[in-house]
């Protein structure tokens, strides 16, 4: 039972990070019906930029509280990622808005490759450590332990998700976003500046990605130019699991996927009689994705889509 609870806790923490990244995917897909392959790399960029600041500050001003240093890292990472998201949308996706579906998909892959390699050229191929400046306390919850960092991630994620829900549900921008997701044409006829809404979607998603990137690197203690790929794929699987285009679905899907992964990694040895070990952890996301798409493509909370003739 202890293993179960511990893995559950781990899963929820990781899952909330997946949720933040999944939100970015789902928002863009909801409006543009485009899988923004580059989103995972934006998360990575957020982590790298933040770590650059954090690493430098930790050395230069070790007296500063860890939270402040991380805050400074975020303060740079978020605008950088927002700018990146804006740039990518403007340069790579907007010209292809009416092109056949294959084109923006391939472009997205290209952008993803560019970002990865730019990061590699700037920061090299080695793992970049996250300085141990954050409080390292542990707390006991019903037999499972949760660290300060994990707790912080969980709480921050919940706050952000609540904020986003409010934004999309209650503000003018949110209404415009929902309208555009329903029908670009009609929304624009109703006076919505579709281009700005789309740009805003990318900007918000990128900001979330930056925060998620910092969270991940804090959680695992390091960042790496290749970390975005797998993370992005898993987050996308989470978005699909919850129902692509559906915000609540992305949050639910993220949490669920995190838990499935954690529990799976914990129990897979027992389940397969030792044949498969926990290093198969990464395949869980893929399997979930494939199963969902084959059996219930609209996801848990999505609507059933029918092809119209």
């Amino acid at each position: 039972m202890d293993v179960f609870l511990q893995q559950l806790v781990n899963g929820l923490v990781l899952g909330s990070v997946y949720a933040l990244v999944a939100l970015g995917y789902t928002m863009v897909y909801g409006i543009l019906e485009l899988i923004n392959f580059a989103h995972g790399e934006i998360t990575m960029m957020g982590a790298m930029v933040a770590l650059a600041v954090i690493g430098a500050l930790a050395l230069a001003a070790p007296a500063l509280p860890g939270v402040v240093i991380v805050g400074a890292g975020l303060a740079l990472a978020i605008p950088v990622c927002m700018a990146l998201g804006l740039l990518i949308e403007r340069v790579a996706y907007r010209p292809l808005r009416n092109a056949p579906r294959l084109a923006p998909l391939i472009t997205a892959i290209g952008v993803s490759i560019i970002l990865q390699n730019v990061a590699m050229l700037i920061w090299g191929k080695q793992y970049i450590p996250f300085p141990a400046i954050l409080p390292q306390g542990r707390h006991d919850v019903l037999g499972a332990s949760i660290t300060d960092v994990q707790l912080a991630i969980l709480l921050l994620a919940v706050v952000i998700m609540a904020g986003l829900t409010l934004l999309v549900g209650k503000t003018r921008l949110g209404r415009a976003m929902r309208a555009t997701a329903q029908s670009r044409q009609v929304a624009s006829l109703m006076g919505v500046d579709v281009d700005r809404v789309i740009a805003a979607t990318f900007v918000i998603g990128s900001a979330l990605a930056a925060i998620a990137g910092v969270m991940v690197s804090a959680y695992y203690g390091l960042a790496h130019y290749y970390m975005g790929f797998l993370l992005g794929l898993k987050a996308f699987s989470a978005a699909v699991l919850g129902g692509i285009g559906n915000l609540a679905g992305a949050m639910l899907g993220g949490l669920l996927l995190g838990v499935i992964e954690a529990l799976g990694a914990g129990y897979i040895g027992d389940l397969t009689g030792g044949f498969l070990g926990s290093h198969y952890q990464d395949v869980f996301a893929f399997f979930v994705l494939i199963l969902v798409l084959v059996f219930r493509p609209s996801g848990l909370l999505g609507e059933r889509l029918a092809e119209r003739a």
Binding site: E33, L34, I35, A92, P95, L96, A99, R101, L102, A103, P104, L105, I106, T107, I109, G110, V111, S112, I113, I114, L115, Q116, N117, V118, M120, L121, F229, L233, F236, V240, G274, F275, L276, G277, H279, Y280, D282, V283, F286, F287, L289, I290, L293, V294, P297, E307, A309
Partner: protein, 366 residues
């Protein structure tokens, strides 16, 4: 014979002679390494033509294509190396590998049949990654793939007692291993080209393009879309498996490293850059993208000459340039650098406003 035909024949003969002496010219002008590169280029031509059937003809964006390459390679390694102690001849293994790959093509394609473009891409990507992860980890409790170390000491192609991995002298001319492999690869590549051409201009080819253009209309016109999609996967996989077996015999060792997502993306890049669905374009893309990284190495020398040191490692530049190329091509030349005549017509006519209107009318009606 009319002069047009005479010219076609002359061109053909010239091409044949050129291809026949190519390895010697390359060896003389650029060195043995480049001959090996040409051999790899031929392998990639096979792979690109295989993926072209899936993506270019049938319009199924397969991002996990490298899985079939891997399968063909591992089958060859299992049946022609000390790993299991089995040493079958190549003419037995290659068809087996291709067939097994085809079977996997059907297996992996089956769950994707109802998926739309982007989802299909992600799922196939997932499949490719799953296979790579398995290849990397199936070394315990049973050592099937030897994990990250891969399998080495793979038998080279052998014709009777003659091993293609060793040089031979024929009529005074020295044929090194890369030379000999070149001719085998060339013949098989020409075979793949032939099959592609025949398929393209046939009832099967038309059915694939119809599915790509509008799957619902294709089904309404009597095309069993399920079977034809599976057929596309199977045919593409067959070429991948064949290329994989040849790769294993050529390189002598294989590991999961060679079969990652970047490979799939690179092969896709070759098709996209060259001209999707257009055989000459695909060949062009495959050759250029195989040889370009090598050519990039010279920029290292140029950097040393100009700046005194290497600022950017050419090897690192490679993938970055690929990414830029993908984006640039999609934005400015979406039909590829060597589009088919039909695509060229379509792009040229874009200037005509009336036709654009009609096109958008028909297009929005989806």
């Amino acid at each position: 014979m009319p002069s047009a035909r005479k010219r076609a024949w002359a061109g053909f003969v010239l091409l044949a002679v050129g291809l026949a002496v190519l390895p010697f010219l390359v060896d003389f002008g650029l060195g043995r390494t480049w001959v090996r590169l040409v051999d790899f280029a031929l392998l990639y031509v096979m792979l690109a033509l295989g993926l072209n059937i899936v993506v270019g003809y049938a319009g199924l964006l397969d991002l996990g294509y490298v899985a079939f390459y891997a399968l063909g390679a591992y089958v060859y390694a299992w049946l022609a190396s000390p790993h299991f102690g089995v040493h079958l001849p190549f003419w037995a293994i290659l068809p087996l590998g291709a067939l097994l790959a085809a079977a996997f093509g059907v297996l992996l394609g089956a769950p994707t049949l109802r998926l739309r473009g982007d989802y299909l891409a992600i799922v196939t990507l997932g499949f490719g990654e799953i296979i790579r992860i398995f290849m990397n980890n199936l070394n315990a409790p049973l050592n099937i793939t030897n994990g990250p170390q891969g399998i080495n000491l793979i038998d080279p192609l052998r014709l009777g007692d003659v091993s293609l991995a060793q040089s031979h002298v024929l009529g005074g001319i020295t044929l090194s291993a890369p030379h000999q492999y070149y001719y085998v690869f060339l013949i098989l590549t020409l075979g793949v080209v032939f099959v592609s051409m025949r398929l393209e201009d046939s009832r099967v080819g038309r059915a694939w393009v119809a599915i790509r253009e509008d799957e619902i209309a294709a089904a309404a016109m009597g095309i069993d879309t399920r079977n034809f999609k599976l057929l596309a996967f199977a045919m593409g996989a067959t070429f991948g498996g064949l290329a994989g077996g040849l790769f294993a015999s050529f390189q002598g060792f294989i590991s999961p490293e060679s079969f990652n997502l970047m490979e799939s993306i690179m092969i896709l890049c070759m098709i996209v850059l060259g001209g999707m669905g257009h055989i000459p374009g695909v060949i062009f893309g495959a050759v250029v993208l195989t040889l370009l990284p090598e050519a990039l190495r010279y920029t290292g020398d140029a950097q040393r000459a100009l700046l005194g040191r290497i600022v950017v490692d050419p090897a690192d530049l490679r993938m970055l340039l690929f990414g830029v190329a993908l984006v640039a091509v999609m934005l400015y030349r979406p039909a590829g650098l060597i589009p088919s005549a039909r695509r060229r017509r379509e792009l040229a006519a874009k200037g005509d406003v009336l036709e654009q209107e009609q096109a958008s009318l028909a297009d929005t009606a989806r």
